[in-house]
């Protein structure tokens, strides 16, 4: 008897959804950041269907190692199996629904519910209960009542993703050519990456999309929003992005990566010359491994979001998930990623540097939070929520002739990725099933 979760029946699209955005015209409305009705639709049509980041493999080294997290608002346990694979279960007892694991990470032989003593092994099988005799008298079939298992789990270069939906396309298909760009941070050295221990969680009163969109393709804000932090860390202004001779915005299925080719622009803001030197030192080997082009992206001025809510900054090496908690609240989970092969001193500098810049105490992040919260809160006004918001920069910048994979746009000061992000969101909210999601990709699915 399978305890694997089945595809949810989704409700019909909201009748007035068309009014909330028109990406061809480069506009959205604040309503999408504040409406409870839209949020309810997102939970079932985005978070219950898409591939969501749940863990880094380095957090689950041995059999029985686990972490708990959420997929949308659903609580899940991510646990390493005896055969080395990773399974994801709802963190809810199939008897009355109580949480079966209350800690955020650890190592265990199983999970026991505090309520009636239902006990599960790490493969999710129900193996016993308090007063088990009375269940036997009721001809109870234990095999039917294991932990509910998330339909698909897969990983890419240490990043573990899961989807509730058995009908979702494979992770490979979902990520498409974005993997080519992910390698610039997650596979630039032999041995790949690992997470520094721990996870910092904080709470923002903002909509999850405003934060995810900031990372998908909004470097435009950096020079203005983060001026104070740059001056504090570097003694001068942020690099002027419009001066970069070559930069791109690339997207696919709502994911986006915007980047310059300046190699060290992002890492430089940590203000540790040894980190800049480390990046320059590994650059030739990255060029050998990934080619000259991506060796310029290791820690360059860049940011990325994998749709819907997994984001990172190469160079600052902050990795985060914007966990939705209602239309106007998120919990931000942040981690720090480092190359496994990096010297301990370098790993330690990144641990501290990411905290100093992008964390609840980070001098850069402090100015982001204020902006995101008020982009959300102003939409509490019914009239304000219905007004158009401009998202039209770089309308005609698609590069038709390029060897780069994905939908490639010229320049990173460009809202092409933001539009693609909202378009994919809009398409999912209108689609009853994956087959109804239109393919809007125009570029190459694979690198040449």
């Amino acid at each position: 008897m399978s305890n694997i979760i089945k595809t949810l029946d989704v409700t019909d699209a909201l009748p007035n959804l068309k009014k909330v955005c028109n990406l061809d015209e480069g506009r959205i409305s604040g309503e999408i950041f504040y409406s409870q009705e839209i949020y309810e639709q997102e939970l079932e049509k985005v978070f219950a269907r898409c591939w969501l980041f749940v863990a880094h493999e380095s957090q689950l080294v041995k059999t029985g190692d686990y972490i708990t997290t959420t997929m949308g608002e659903d609580e899940v346990i991510v646990v390493r199996q005896k055969n080395g694979s990773i399974k994801v279960f709802l963190n809810a007892c199939p008897h009355r629904g109580n949480k079966v694991c209350f800690s955020e990470s650890g190592s265990t032989r199983g999970f026991i519910c505090n309520y009636h003593g239902w006990s599960f092994d790490t493969a999710g099988n129900l193996v016993g209960q308090h007063e088990s005799g009375i269940y036997e008298a009721s001809e109870f079939d234990k095999s039917k009542w294991g932990l509910k298992e998330v339909a698909q789990v897969d990983s890419y270069k240490g990043l573990v993703f899961a989807t509730f939906d058995p009908e979702a396309p494979s992770l490979k298909e979902y990520l498409g050519p974005m993997t080519w760009y992910l390698d610039a941070l997650f596979d630039n050295q032999e041995g790949g990456t690992e997470f520094v221990g721990g996870c910092i969680r904080s709470t923002y009163e903002c909509n999850w999309k405003i934060a995810a969109e900031n990372f998908v393709g909004d470097i435009l804000h950096a020079g203005w929003t983060h001026d104070s932090a740059a001056r504090a860390m570097l003694g001068g202004a942020v690099a002027k992005v419009s001066d970069f001779p070559e930069s791109y915005s690339v997207n696919w299925n709502g994911h986006g990566y915007e980047f310059a080719l300046d190699t060290v622009g992002n890492v430089a803001v940590l203000g540790e010359s040894k980190l800049n030197r480390y990046v320059h030192t590994i650059k030739p080997s990255v060029a050998e491994r990934l080619g000259e082009f991506r060796s310029n992206m290791i820690a360059s001025v860049s940011s990325a979001t994998i749709f819907p809510n997994f984001s990172f900054l190469p160079g600052q090496n902050t990795v985060r998930v914007w966990q939705p908690r209602g239309p106007n609240k998120i919990e931000l989970f942040t981690w720090v990623v480092v190359n496994k092969s990096a010297p301990e001193e370098i790993k330690e500098m990144w641990r501290k540097g990411a905290m100093m810049t992008f964390s609840p105490t980070g001098v850069f992040e402090m100015d982001d939070g204020e902006n995101w919260e008020y982009c959300t809160k102003t939409a509490k006004g019914k009239v304000t929520a219905k007004q158009d918001l401009f998202v039209g920069l770089g309308m005609d910048t698609l590069l038709e002739e390029t060897p780069l994979p994905g939908n490639v746009y010229e320049g990173q000061l460009n809202e092409a990725n933001s539009r693609a992000f909202y378009q994919y969101w809009f398409d999912l909210l209108n689609a009853k099933s994956w087959t109804e999601v239109p393919n809007r990709n125009k570029g190459k699915a694979e690198a040449e």
Partner: protein, 179 residues
């Protein structure tokens, strides 16, 4: 709350008074945004550490129970880092600091002990940090502090601070103050 305090000899009433006054002054300087004067109260070798709190089962503790020195932190700062944070506060372009955040730091449960290191006290205290921004934002953070305060030629200086909050999830967007 988290760390078992080592058994140390208790400081005198006079010393306790002096150390309490030091902590109260520090809190007032922060409330009055006198950050440069606050930095003057710190030892040049300061280690200012606020580890992330992890929600772990008792049988699966980290090195220090709920936290670990190699894990992520809110602050894990030396003097240069603290100076950089102050430098951001002082920028006219620190948009999220204008209008100003209004701070109240409340310090209580002060206990003072004689630390094994020369001329050094171990001082335990609890704090409540209340911040308000805009018309109606209010953030309250509370916790425990374990300080090493050293008597130097320049007076008492804060040499080490360990800040522990009970929360595994911070219930606000940032910590734009010192604790």
């Amino acid at each position: 709350m988290f760390t078992k305090t080592p058994d140390l000899p208790i400081a005198s009433m006079e010393e306790l008074f002096e150390l309490s006054a030091f902590l109260h002054k520090e809190a007032r300087l922060l409330d009055e945004e006198r950050f440069e004067e606050w930095l003057e109260m710190l030892h040049e070798e300061i280690h200012y550490w606020m580890p992330g709190i992890e929600n772990r089962r008792r049988e699966n503790p980290l090195k220090e129970g709920f936290y670990d020195k190699d894990h992520m932190a809110y602050f894990d700062d030396r003097m240069r880092d603290l100076q950089r944070r102050v430098a951001r506060f002082r920028q006219p372009s620190a948009w999220a600091e204008n209008p100003a955040t209004r701070n109240v730091h409340i310090i209580s449960n002060v206990e003072a002990f004689i630390a094994p290191e020369a001329d050094t006290y171990m001082v335990c205290s609890t704090f409540t940090s209340i911040r308000s921004r805009g018309l109606d934002e209010e953030y309250v953070i509370y916790g425990r502090r374990y300080d090493r305060i050293q008597r130097t030629e320049g007076g008492l200086k804060l040499l080490k601070r360990l800040i522990l909050i009970p929360n595994a999830t911070l219930s606000c967007k940032n910590i734009n103050t010192f604790l």
